[in-house]
Amino acid sequence: MAHPDHEARSERRFRQLLDAAPDAILEVDQHGRIVLVNQATEKSFGYLRDELLGQPVELLVPEAAREKHAQLRQGYQHAPSVRPMGQGRELHARRKDGTAFPVEISLSPVFLGGERHVTAIIRDVTERQRAQDRLKEIQAEYALEAARTNAELAARNAEIQRANRLKSEFLATMSHELRTPLHTIIGFSELLGEGLDGELNATQRRFVEHIHRDSLHLLELINDILDLSKIEAGRLELRCVPMPLEGALQEVLATIRPQAAAKSQRLRVSTPEGLSLDADRIRFKEILYNLLSNAVKFTGEGGTIHIAITRQTEFAMIEVEDTGIGIAPEHQSAVFDAFRQVGATTKGVREGTGLGLSITRHLVEQHGGCLLLTSHLGRGSRFRFTVPLDPQQRVARDRPLVLLAHEARAALDHLVIPLMEAGFQVAIASQKRDVTHLVDRLHPDCIACGPGFDELLENRADTATLRWLKIPSQPDAAQVLAELQPVRHL
């Protein structure tokens, strides 16, 4: 028999423990009457202890659920176990004032002198549910916002596509409308110049020649603007096929020779035999023609123009070197800008469109090559470019190939030379739409991606086999080289 004092102390400790619990705890006898409650029960339900003791526990259940609760309670008393109540169901309890609140209940059977009682711990989850509801609300708001943004993007995308289509249609129409009158201007001035309808005197002939030459210049401008617009709209498509270099080279030289001869310039050509490229024949000739006609144009009487073609593992390297006026270092990147001829250094040579080099560089890069300029003012210029070889003529890569994918020309200019000097081969994607075909065409060892380019690679089916690194909008050459270090020894 326990000592009465001891029993009283134990009872007090039990009571204190019970009242310290933050959850409502109550005990129910086998008839469903409340026999024990703690302070949290009073607080949660708004009853005093004495108002609860001896009452059926259904007093704390919302009216609508009371009958069902009584049945469940009887069922539980026949097969009691420790378990949460109403799993998967939302339970509510009822306060004295009739209001309901969400609860979580756990039950445990208690055996007291042969009677089966049940202890219930009731947790008020109002706050938690409110937080959950708020979370759901926020998620719904987010989903709505995301849907709205997506719809906006889709609309904007459609708008861009429409604008692009309109631009193409406009270009096609403009081109047609401009060529139509030029056709007769050029044709009739040629006809007049031929003296078909009576000989012209010297002055008349000169006038007609002015008309003829300037109308041809106008045609050249129209063609270049059309090309540049196509490039900008991503609509310039190359049809690359294996093509022997020799034939194309001779065709271009046949056009260039008379121009060079008129200035008593020498043309020296050195090319390996049987070289075959993987290129768009018409565009390749255009690249070569642009560089050679520039060389002739900016080289004085009696100068020399040297064309040297060499074979690399996967590329042909084509160099056009002249003994002309050259380009000052500070103007060397500007010569590639559209509509720029470098005024001070061109010394009155103004017959070009100023678009040639811009188009030429894009054509080289779209082929998978790279165009470089080295020049000394007063001593001449050297343009070098690469073009992929016919796949049949390619041999194993001896130096790693890096594809520089960056929209900022300044960033590309900053990286190309250091990378080449460090022993890399370089190809360039200056527009996002070029990345896919250049990766397919060149299989680079690494792709250095400017902002936004890496996403294109992530979306590719072969993304796991690609190696790339992200570079910032204004990359530092030394840092990029350091990051490329592992690729160097592949």
């Binding site: 060529r179 139509t180 056709h183 007769t184 050029i186 044709g187 498509e237």
Partner: protein
């Protein structure tokens, strides 16, 4: 004398073509649209047809298509002439029955060469 039918809606261009080809010694008949071109082809049986692609009524493509269905013109050289410079136009013209394709502005030497090439075979 070989006979050439030219179909071109613009007066100046038609006069240019006529002058060049007549000076080369060809007999030139002229149509100002596609419908007239078909009528003249039927009446004159030209040895070569030079068709502008963009014409009112029937365009050059339709004229070429109808001419090719007529056994009398099954192998007649039909040359397309167009100021359009879009990629794929040449391929489209050649696929649709044209024998050759000249783009405007056409250089006179090129025009003469192309016409002679087809008529001296």
């Amino acid at each position: 004398m070989k006979k050439i039918l030219i179909a071109e809606d613009r007066d100046a261009s038609r006069e240019l073509l006529r002058t060049v080809l007549a000076a080369q010694g060809f007999h030139v008949v002229e149509a100002i649209d596609g419908r007239q071109a078909l009528r003249l082809a039927d009446a004159e049986l030209p040895d070569l047809v030079l068709l502008d692609l963009q014409m009112p009524e029937l365009d050059g493509f339709e004229v070429a298509c109808q001419l090719r269905q007529d056994p009398r013109f099954a192998v007649t050289p039909i040359i397309a002439l167009t100021a359009s410079a879009m990629q794929g136009d040449r391929e489209k013209a050649l696929a649709q029955g044209f024998s050759a394709y000249l783009s405007k502005p056409v250089r006179l030497a090129e025009l003469r060469k192309e016409v002679s090439r087809w008529l001296t075979r």
